[in-house]
């Protein structure tokens, strides 16, 4: 018996060794040029090569040893998994059930908590009011903008199943309509917010109309093309948009007419508070929180309305949907317009918060990031999407803060450089590991008597 186990062990070891060596060889081939050499300009602007064989060796070793360990431990992990499987399948805990409520409460308390906790550490590196503002601004507001965008795109991709790779165009339309209209006509934020939404929705319909006949990937590529066209027009139409310089000095948002300025009519003076920039940040936080929640609320309500049902039917099967008498044209157009409208809201908020817009903010990468949030979070699941947005944006923002890494890797180490690399790798890893996203369930919103599990074979997800 022991002998059998030993030979098994040996064969596993031999196999792992072989795979490790092969992986090492492949890694050597992959990285020999791109990592082994570095090209740099010298003073005369000529390229020179520097050799980095040490780094290459590390890459190859990591690949070889990693592969060896994975293969070697594979049988053991399979064994353990078998044992675990029995223990699973239990009711979701109370925490999980009420997670949306707890999360919502936390979101409302977040700025107060951050300010309270970090102000207590007055004087330390992390503490102080200014430092706590950074957490409200960089983490809170930034994440919530993306949550809102992702929820808006969720209507198009998650509910209606139309793959839109140019969502950022509507974001840009919203941002530029706020920037231009407030600069030229001096209109207020509260007037321009709905207008930006309407403009974006109109663009959604204009862009949506010609592409309605297209399906699936063709639709994706045309929306990508539209996104790029809008960005290129923003860059090149310099008379209006000032091109790559962007528009700066955009008016701030006001609390229903009360500006956040230090003067006597400002917010601080009005309420007899000491002057500070804190209020505006906190106001912005609650503003975007409300906008995001509005998106969520509209999504949830729409799902129960005929149009939302029609979107979901469209996502599952377009042909069946059409044969049941649903007008696919208006269904698709409403999905496009509704998604675009929320993109426009988020865009005008972005412009008001930033005070500056330029085409740089509306590149394809942004669309890809937003789409990744929707898919990684689990299409259609609002909580999952919010978590994905928080993890992805919060994680990359956190990377900026990791000063201690400089102590490990030396003072030249800049974590920002690795931000997007890690971001891309994370997208791949999460997708391979959980292809349905973190919270990927597509519960039917309409059902007879009780919810039943539907086999995946009966549905064609994302077939648009």
């Amino acid at each position: 018996m022991a002998d059998v186990q030993n030979t098994e062990r040996d064969s596993v070891f031999a196999k792992a060794l072989k795979e490790g060596i092969i992986s090492g060889a492949i890694a050597l081939g992959l990285f020999c040029l791109i990592v082994g050499f570095r090209t740099e300009q010298n003073i005369r602007n000529e390229l020179i090569l520097t050799q980095r064989w040490g780094l290459l060796a590390i890459f190859v070793l990591v690949a070889a040893v990693g592969r060896f360990l994975v293969t070697y431990t594979a049988p053991m992990r399979a064994e353990r998994k078998k044992l675990h499987k029995v223990a699973e399948a239990r009711e979701p805990s109370a925490f999980r059930k009420s997670f949306p409520k707890i999360g919502l409460g936390l979101l409302f308390l977040y700025p107060a908590l951050v300010v309270l906790i970090l102000s207590a550490y007055q004087g330390s590196m992390m503490g102080g009011l200014q430092a706590s503002l950074k957490y409200v601004d960089n983490f809170g507001i930034q994440i919530l903008i993306y949550v809102m965008l992702a929820w808006g795109l969720n209507i198009v991709v998650g509910l209606a199943g139309l793959l839109d790779l140019g969502y950022v165009a509507f974001y840009a339309v919203g941002a530029y309509s706020y920037a231009l209209l407030s600069a030229h006509f001096g209109l207020s934020f509260w007037l321009l917010l709905p207008m930006a939404g309407i403009f974006a929705a109109t663009w959604g319909i204009i862009l949506g109309f010609p592409v309605l006949r297209l399906r699936g990937d063709y639709l994706a590529i045309v929306t990508l093309a539209f996104g790029e066209i809008i960005r290129l027009v923003l860059i090149n139409w310099t008379a209006v948009t000032k091109g790559t310089f962007g528009i700066s000095g955009i008016a701030k948002a006001t609390l229903f007419g009360i500006p956040f300025t230090p003067g006597p009519t400002g917010f601080a003076a009005m309420f007899g508070l000491p002057n500070s920039g804190v209020y505006y940040k906190i106001f912005l936080y609650y503003l975007i929180l409300c906008l995001a929640l509005l998106t969520a609320w509209v999504t949830i309500r729409l799902r129960r309305m005929p149009v939302g049902r029609a979107w979901e039917a469209l996502r599952e099967d377009e042909i069946a949907c059409r044969s049941l008498g649903i007008n696919t044209t208006t269904t698709k157009l409403t999905a496009f317009a509704t998604g675009a409208m929320f993109g426009g809201f988020a865009g005008s908020f972005f412009a008001a918060r930033q005070g500056f817009v330029s085409p740089e903010s509306f590149v394809f990468l942004e669309s890809a990031i937003i789409l990744a949030m929707v898919v990684l979070g689990g299409m259609g699941s609002l909580v999952g999407i919010a978590i994905a947005a928080a993890v992805m944006i919060g994680g990359t923002e956190l990377l900026r803060e990791l000063e201690f890494l400089k102590l490990i890797f030396g003072p030249d180490f800049t974590p920002e450089l690795y931000r997007m690399l890690l971001f891309g790798l994370a997208m791949i890893v999460v997708m391979v590991w959980k292809p349905r996203g973190f919270a990927g369930s597509r519960e039917p919103s309409a059902f007879l008597h009780e919810r039943k599990m539907i086999s995946g074979e009966f549905t064609k997800e994302g077939h648009g």
């Binding site: 492949i26 081939g29 992959l30 040029l33 791109i34 990592v35 050499f37 570095r38 090209t39 740099e40 300009q41 602007n45 000529e46 390229l47 020179i48 090569l49 991709v157 793959l163 010609p210 592409v211 006949r213 297209l214 399906r215 990937d217 063709y218 590529i221 045309v222 990508l224 093309a225 539209f226 790029e228 066209i229 290129l232 027009v233 860059i235 090149n236 069946a320 394809f364 890809a368 789409l371 990744a372 898919v375 990684l376 299409m379 450089l417 690795y418 997007m420 690399l421 971001f423 891309g424 790798l425 997208m427 791949i428 997708m431 391979v432 292809p435 349905r436 997800e461 994302g462 077939h463």
Partner: protein, 302 residues
């Protein structure tokens, strides 16, 4: 007229590069129905490989004849980029085969972000200029039309590669396996074709053509940067869709058309809006001719 012909030649040169990249998109799409978003970055990676090979040749060996240098650049870039593509397919796309349709698209977008940033991290964010490899050109007798030698190199290399590629797809066992997988993957597997291997080879072949395109791009423009994958990638995909995605001659025709449109638009209208023109034409073609120029119309099965 001379101006028109001159611009058309420039357009055809550019179009050949787009065509070579577009083949990679169209083959992968034809066989597994997935937009390989990272293909543009594979092209960029190929150009970087070629650049490093060129620098290594000049640093370690000194003067190498241009023809030999170009050949070596292409060969090494083809081999290594093929290996990259094989690895990417193996790690990022194969585990998701049979998953829902958006999943591989997301990993491909992630791979595209990761690849371009990997190159940025390892090679630095600046543009990489190399000295011109091929100089001079010929003027056609009695006219002002000049054809630069590097344009001739691009067109000739593309023609040779396309011929070799046509042979590979139409006359060899691998090509037959590919075509059968394209028609019906399940049936091909039942008939004893190693589908996984065929798909891997498709990725490798697409990447090799993209690497050649990268080398030619580097030779033509003399500069490459880590962001250079995206725009040619999107345009090549546009070319593939324009020609009818899944159709190999379509990819080449689409590439040439996109190149021509771009060059002529820049010549007669505005150079700033050349990309807008290319994308608008894509949208218009798709709306009126949804299956592209040479594509088969999609049959709806219920």
């Amino acid at each position: 007229m001379e101006y028109f012909i001159q611009q058309s030649i420039n357009g055809l040169t550019l179009g050949s590069i787009y065509g070579l990249i577009a083949i990679g998109y169209t083959m992968v799409y034809g066989i597994i129905g997935m937009i390989n978003f990272a293909h543009g970055d594979i092209f960029m990676l190929g150009a970087f490989m070629a650049m490093i090979v060129f620098l290594a040749l000049t640093t370690f060996i000194g003067g190498v004849p241009v023809v030999l240098a170009l050949l070596l650049m292409m060969l090494v870039a083809m081999l290594l980029t093929g290996l990259w593509s094989w690895t990417i397919e193996r790690l990022a796309y194969r585990p998701l085969r049979g998953s829902f349709r958006l999943a591989p698209l997301i990993t491909a977008i992630g791979m595209s972000i990761a690849l371009s940033n990997f190159v940025q991290v390892t090679q630095g964010p600046r543009n990489k200029p190399i000295p011109p490899l091929v100089n001079g050109g010929i003027t056609i007798y009695g006219t002002n039309i000049t054809i630069a030698y590097k344009q001739m190199v691009i067109i000739i290399v593309t023609a040779i590669l396309l011929a070799a590629f046509w042979y590979l797809v139409n006359k060899t066992t691998l090509g037959r396996a590919q075509r059968s997988c394209e028609q019906d993957r399940k049936m091909a597997a039942l008939l004893g074709i190693d589908v996984d291997k065929t798909i891997s080879m498709t990725f490798v072949m697409g990447a090799m053509l993209a690497a050649v395109a990268g080398t030619l791009y580097l030779m033509f423009y003399g500069v490459i940067s880590f962001t250079d994958g995206f725009v040619p990638g999107v345009k090549a995909f546009t070319a593939a869709v324009l020609g009818g995605i899944g159709s190999l001659p379509g990819a080449v025709v689409g590439g040439l058309l996109i190149g021509l449109i771009e060059a002529l638009w820049s010549a007669y209208f505005s150079i700033d809006y050349k990309d807008v023109a290319a994308f608008s034409i894509l949208a218009i073609v798709l709306i009126f001719l949804p299956s592209g120029i040479l594509g088969r119309p999609e049959v709806e099965k219920v």
